[in-house]
Symmetry: C2
Subunit: 159 residues, 2 copies
DNA sequence: CTATGTGCAAAGCGTTTGCAGTTAG
DNA sequence: CTAACTGCAAACGCTTTGCACATAG
């Protein structure tokens, strides 16, 4: 499921501004990687970004994807997360949200739920440290995989 | 913080039984890896297990650690988790629990809190899939790192 | 004894890095 | 123009695998 057009454009402009503010050049490679990350809700990994951008810039290299993604993370425009084992995945949704991860296909869905946001470090965490963020991770089987029992969409290790 | 002696012995016996039940041999290498995983609450990675077991069996190889850990995961005695970026970490605590992860040193603490267990898939997740497990991840700075501001205990990438 | 497990070394995957040529500003 | 960026290839860290020897049962 792609990000709504307006939201995507907003994100793209924000990232471009951040790059410019750092005095970094807006090369067409960078712009396409930015568009790819900003426009996806699937928390894509570097390989997926690379594959998709390659349809537009066939000469782009994986290195540029990795470097641009790392830059966006540094700039705070994107977060890296390890939702599944295997490659790091990039998330352009900066709103506070939670995740549902399919144990069969590895697909990830954002979950925005004010009820989950209430989960706060309670007495149990006292003495352990100071909590800065709370993320709820739901694991299960996505509706798509439930329908096609047995078949896996992508070969990604579960958990 | 090590696991309580009795609990550790219970876990060790459970794992040995599971290995026997599968017709697998209880080699001294396997037993030491089992003891190491069962006795740690720190969610150690393969390298840490390897380093510690090596003090008892100097000739053990990393491969055996990986293989034994993989076997224990298959047998359901241990779970693999990626709490931080970097190496997979093993968790011998099968009780339902949550995690606090220090963003500075990467240390992980188990959190058992019935209040957190109440977090359930609410309306928001409807239509996404069927939820099987819920894990709450708290991120922040552990008390130890708060005390020694600036210094990091271990060099592990945060988040 | 003999099937299983071990250590070794080599390969695998995802990712990072040094370099020389390329390009945005 | 020239500093910044790219693509390449090589290196990296973590993990898995094929093989011949070693050992638990």
């Amino acid at each position: 499921m792609p990000v709504a057009h307006d939201e995507m454009e907003r994100r793209v402009e924000e990232m471009k501004d951040a790059l410019r503010a750092r005095g970094m050049r807006l090369t067409h490679q960078r712009i396409e990687v930015v568009r790819e990350i900003a426009g996806s809700e699937a928390h894509p990994d570097a390989e997926t970004i690379y594959r998709n951008v390659r349809t537009r810039i066939p000469t782009i290299s994986r290195d540029t994807v990795y470097r641009t993604a790392a830059t966006l993370v540094e700039l705070g425009c994107v977060t890296r997360t390890t939702l599944t084992h295997g490659p790091v995945r990039y998330d352009a949704n900066l709103e506070h949200h939670h995740h549902f991860v399919c144990m069969r296909c590895g697909a990830a869905h954002d979950i925005v739920d004010p009820a989950l946001d209430k989960v706060r470090a309670s007495a149990s965490s006292a003495g352990i440290g100071s909590v800065e963020t709370v993320e709820v991770r739901l694991r299960g089987v996505c509706t798509e995989c439930e329908r096609s029992t047995g078949t896996t969409r992508r070969s990604r290790r579960k958990t």
